[in-house]
C-alpha cells in the first residue's frame, strides 16, 4: 500500500499505479499473469474528473488484456472489491486477480469532500444538509443516552487508534493524542468533536487473489479468505428501528462466520471501520465481540488495546491511518494479512485469524472478511 495522507501533485492514477506495482513486486507476479483487475474507488469522477480508472491502471501496469471493473460501494468499495476478487477466483473465472483500491481527495476543501460523500444520501436527507458526520452525531447521542456511556469512552477510541497509528509507517497521523486533547477539540457534530472523525486522505492499497494451488507456486505462506459476507441496510438511515444497530454488520458477519466455520470468539485481531469513533462501538457489538451496549466498556477496560484480549485497529484504523474512501477496505484487509502472516512489525499481535469490517454510507452497505494464515 502507499503512504496515506496528503499526496500533493499525485492523482488517483498515480496512487493506484504505485500500490498496484508494489503488490505485483511483493507477490512476484508478472503483469502478464493478471487475468482480472478490479479498482475499488468511490468518486474519482466527482473528485478529479478522471473516470475509466481500471482501464487506465491496466495500461499503466501493462496488465492488458486483463478483464477490468470499477467497484463503487461508497466507503465500502474496498470490501466490495475483496468480494468481487474472491468471487472471480472462487468461480474459476480468474486464476490471478489484482485488487487496487484508491482515492484522491485532499485537493478538495473539507466542505466539498463532505458534499461528495453526502451525495450518497436520499433526497429527503440531502435537502436538509444531512452529512455522514451528522449521522454519527445523531447516533452517538442516542448510544450514550441508551447505554449510559460516558462521552470520554468515545474519546478513548481515538486515543487508542492514534497510539496504534504511531507504529504504522503508512499512516497519515503518527502522533499520539491524549484524552484531554480529544475532549477539548472543536465540536463537529454534537456530541462528537474533531478527534472523533477520520481525516480526508489520499492513498491506495492493493491485494492479489488466486486459488491456493496457484499461491503455492509463488510462496510457502499465504492467507486464505476463509469467510466473506456482504449485506445492505436501509438507504434512508432514519427508517431503521434501532439506529444503534448496524444490520448490515450483523448480516454480513453471520454469513462470513458461517462460511469460515468460526465465531466471533475465534477472531484474534480485527480492523473495524472507525470513520467515526462511535462506529467502532457499534461494529464491535454487531460483530458479536461484545454484548449490545457493552462495546464502550471493552474499550474502557483496554480489551481492544494492542496488548488486549482482542486488539482492534492495530493499523491505527481509519482514524489515524486515514480514509481514502475506495482504499480503506483494501487497507484493512492488508493489515489483517500482515498480522496473520507475522509481517506487522511493531504492531504485531499473536493472530492466526483476523477479521475486517468495511462499512459504506452509515452502515448502508457492509462487507465482512475473515482471513486465516495458511502454510503450503
Amino acid at each position: 500500500m502507499t503512504q496515506f495522507g496528503q499526496r500533493e501533485g499525485e492523482w488517483v492514477r498515480d496512487l493506484l499505479a504505485e500500490a498496484g506495482e508494489a503488490c505485483l513486486d511483493d507477490a512476484g507476479v508478472h503483469p502478464d499473469a493478471v487475468e482480472h483487475l478490479y479498482v475499488s474507488n468511490m468518486a474519482s469522477g466527482e473528485f478529479e474528473g478522471q473516470t475509466g480508472v481500471p482501464n487506465a491502471l491496466a495500461h499503466d501496469l501493462a496488465c492488458m488484456p486483463a478483464y477490468t471493473a470499477r467497484i463503487d460501494q461508497t466507503s465500502s468499495s474496498g470490501g466490495a472489491g475483496i468480494y468481487a476478487a474472491w468471487q472471480s477466483v472462487a468461480s474459476g473465472a480468474s486464476d490471478m486477480t489484482m485488487l487496487v483500491g484508491g482515492e484522491k481527495m485532499t485537493h478538495r476543501s473539507t466542505a466539498e469532500a463532505t458534499d461528495v460523500i453526502a451525495s450518497l444520501t436520499h433526497p429527503v436527507e440531502y435537502k436538509h444538509g444531512v452529512t455522514l458526520p451528522s449521522f454519527a452525531g445523531l447516533t452517538a447521542r442516542l448510544y450514550l443516552s441508551t447505554y449510559d456511556a460516558p462521552r470520554e469512552s468515545l474519546a478513548r477510541v481515538a486515543v487508542k487508534n492514534h497510539q496504534n497509528g504511531v507504529d504504522n509507517p503508512h499512516a497519515q497521523f503518527r502522533k499520539e493524542v491524549d484524552l484531554d486533547t480529544v475532549m477539548e477539540s472543536p465540536i463537529v457534530a454534537d456530541p462528537l468533536r474533531l478527534y472523533d472523525f477520520c481525516p480526508i486522505t489520499d492513498g491506495s492499497a492493493a491485494l492479489m487473489f488466486c486459488p491456493e494451488s496457484v499461491a503455492k507456486e509463488y510462496t510457502d505462506e499465504y492467507a486464505v479468505v476463509s469467510g466473506i459476507g456482504g449485506a445492505t441496510d436501509t438507504h434512508v438511515v432514519h427508517e431503521r428501528a434501532d439506529p444503534t444497530t448496524m444490520r448490515g454488520v450483523v448480516e454480513s458477519s453471520d454469513i462470513a462466520y458461517e462460511m469460515a466455520g468460526l465465531g466471533p470468539e475465534d477472531v484474534d485481531v480485527a480492523e473495524l471501520h472507525d470513520m467515526f469513533t462511535i462506529l467502532e462501538f457499534l461494529q464491535s457489538e454487531d460483530l458479536g465481540f461484545f454484548e449490545k451496549g457493552e462495546g464502550w466498556k471493552a474499550v474502557d477496560a483496554g480489551k481492544t488495546d494492542r496488548d488486549g484480549e482482542l486488539p482492534i485497529n492495530t493499523s491505527g484504523g481509519l482514524k489515524s491511518k486515514g480514509h481514502p474512501l475506495g482504499a480503506s477496505g483494501v487497507a484493512q484487509a492488508y493489515e489483517i494479512y500482515q498480522q496473520v502472516l507475522g509481517g506487522a512489525g511493531k504492531r504485531q499481535v499473536d493472530a492466526d485469524v483476523g477479521l475486517a469490517c468495511n462499512v459504506g454510507g452509515f452502515g448502508n452497505c457492509v462487507t465482512t472478511t475473515i482471513l486465516e494464515r495458511e502454510t503450503a
Binding site: E46, E112, P123, Y126, G129, S145, V188, A189, L192, E239
Partner: protein, 131 residues
C-alpha cells in the same frame, strides 16, 4: 417528490406512504417493508412527533446553513410509528421532546452542492418544539 401542493395552494403536505400491512414509511418507496406497493398517502405535517435523537453539525457542505441542527423524530400515526429526519428550528432540544413540522420553502441552496438542482425538491419541513 415527497411534498405535494393541493389545488387550494396551501402549504405542501409531508407525504409518507402506507402499505397493505399497515406499515408507513417516510419517504415513500415503490415497494414497502412487507414487499407490497403503497396503498395511500399520509400527510405527516398534521401530526406531532417525538425527538429520537439530535445533533448540531458545525461542518456543513456548500449551501447548507451553519450550524445545522438536525433531528430524527418519530410520529405516532394512529398507533403506527413512522420516523423522519429534518432540520430543527433551534438547538434547544432534548431526546423525548415533542416537536411539530413547520414548512420551509428552501432548506439549502440548491445550486451550491454537487447534486443536480432539478433532480429533487428543496423545500420541506423543519421541526419546532411544542411548548
Amino acid at each position: 417528490m415527497s411534498e405535494s401542493t393541493d389545488a387550494n395552494d396551501r402549504e405542501p403536505s409531508m407525504d409518507a406512504a402506507r402499505y397493505p400491512d399497515g406499515s408507513i414509511t417516510y419517504p415513500a418507496h415503490p415497494i414497502g417493508p412487507g414487499g407490497e406497493e403503497p396503498v395511500e398517502t399520509v400527510d405527516l405535517s398534521e401530526y406531532e412527533a417525538e425527538v429520537v435523537t439530535w445533533t448540531t453539525s458545525t461542518a456543513t457542505p456548500p449551501g447548507v446553513r451553519q450550524p445545522n441542527s438536525l433531528a430524527i423524530v418519530e410520529f405516532d400515526v394512529d398507533g403506527e410509528p413512522v420516523r423522519a429526519i429534518g432540520q430543527l428550528t433551534t438547538d434547544d432540544v432534548a431526546i423525548g421532546d415533542t416537536v411539530e413540522p413547520v414548512y420551509a420553502e428552501e432548506l439549502r441552496d440548491p445550486g451550491a452542492g454537487i447534486r443536480e438542482p432539478e433532480s429533487q425538491e428543496w423545500d420541506g419541513y423543519r421541526f419546532r418544539s411544542v411548548e
